[in-house]
Amino acid sequence: MTFTKSTSRPTVLAAYSVLVFAFIYLPIVVLILYSFNRDGVGGFPPVHFTLDWYRQLFSDLAIWDSVINSLVVAGASVALSLTLGLLAALALDRSNFPGKPLFRRLVLLPLILPGIITGLSLLMFAVFAGIQLSLFTVFLGHGSALISVATTEIFAGLQKLDRAQEEASLDLGATPWQTFWRVTLPNLKLSLIAAGLLIFTLSMDEIAVTFFLIGRDNTLPLEIWGRLRRGITPEINAISALIFSVSVALIVVWYRLRARSMSSVPRKLVETS
């Protein structure tokens, strides 16, 4: 490695980095800690350990109803976003059509725009089209906004795909349709799964867009939000801790999958060797 590792260690920088790390993690650690605290949220130190809040959580039907709602919306959003994202990625990678740069920007816009804008514009659309607000409108919102995530991931996967494989398939007599199913799609498997995981997690956590599209049935974040308006209870700590744990697990899996799909030899490298 470079000289930087030899004589003088950057101790100030290292200490600072530790502090930043702590800043990122400490609030969540505190949150999880207090989900086990008998005396509620706040005060210090949390001495009395209890699982009561988790018990309360597990018998809270409204929460679990909202969890199911979230799962349904997330599942549907994954299906929609992956399908459209796959097509969009293929289009961006392989075809040229008028308005392609505009299309690319439009697809990626919901990623960078504040959620309120996307949410409100979809609300106006729902009113315009006479669609009543419900989980369906939430699904439309998530699905549309998250196409960008799918497109980006799958596009990256397509870049790694060796074009020669598809050419070989055609050469051996397979039709383009067969080639797509037998060669292209299997090669994209890792990208698709990774994208799906990410979309699922983001949909489960989504608030800003959901806020304006929600009907009678709540998703989990909105259910929690509603309770927050009434007051803080450690039960919310408990559900938050659970959300955090599940999200972390999913993201770790996503990351591993992504790393594996990226480690395959990229197309360019093969061509020059």
């Binding site: 470079t2 000289f3 030899s6 004589t7």
Partner: protein
Amino acid sequence: MSVAGAISPQNAPGSSAPLLEIRDIAKRFGHAEVLKKISLQIASGEFLTLLGESGSGKTTLLRLIAGFEQPTSGQIWMSSGRLDTLPPYRRRVNTVFQNYALFPHLSVHENVAYGLRVKSTPRDEIAARVEDALGMVKMRDFAEARPATLSGGQQQRIALARALINRPELLLLDEPLSALDANLRKQMQSELKTLQREIGIAFLFVTHDQDEAMALSDRIALLRNGALEQVASPREIYSHPATAYAAQFIGQTNLLRGEVRGGSATCGAIRICPVTGLDGPATFSLRPEAIKGALDATIGTPYMTFKATIRQQIYAGATELLEVDCDGQLLRVRVPAGESLHGEHQFIFSPRDAVRIRD
């Protein structure tokens, strides 16, 4: 104003004190011993090449001198000062990197001026010296260009100028020509040699190409698995290789293994007399061009002779390489190109050309 002014009286070529001294340097990466107690001296103004295969440790040694690695043990001294305890930016050593490492966000001029800017050199002095340095590598017209727009050969020249403008006592070159195509490479070798002679700075050159090493160097240090195999001038290494590895790495050779008794050696069907050294098993290196056809009268007495059958004839323009079979022993003979040859022939060589080596 020219870079030749870099020569300070102490380090004038020919002065006796070594410029750089490497004392018992060893380097370990984890469990791998990359350099095994190397000791080497570099004289000021000399062109020394570190030659070896990949994994021989030559690049590691270079990086130790540049300051990007620390030795596991041993010391490096330069002009009576300890070098290995200094960070790279305080060493009077500059490097030409393998892929040039030109700064993409700076123009050619800014790249070359970098070392001077960092030391807060006055602006007009910078301007003059950059002009000079660019002229030295024949790139004056490219001062405002960006590195990305230059070809490989051009980038290499800029990298050279950028290093030399700082008037280092020693210039390190890490396989600088390996990314160039064959013709450009030959041309750059010639330019590099001329440049080094002109400015008189010591060059430490790393390469795996033995032709390149032979063409450029005053001395070659052959590295093998982290140890020095032989350190000598190109002529010396070629004509008197110390080991079989040295004999085979540089140029081609025939290795004749046999027994020495009473001043003469028997290697299969070939006899060599006189030979020096003790009795016992011995290996001799005999270059293909040292063996001639029996009708060639240029070899004086004494001469050794043997009969061999020609198995293959490989044409190479000015010469031919014959693969011959001498009673089961396969040898290579290089002769001037002539007509097609077959069958059994008589060959001769001078015993002085059979160099006894360590195996």
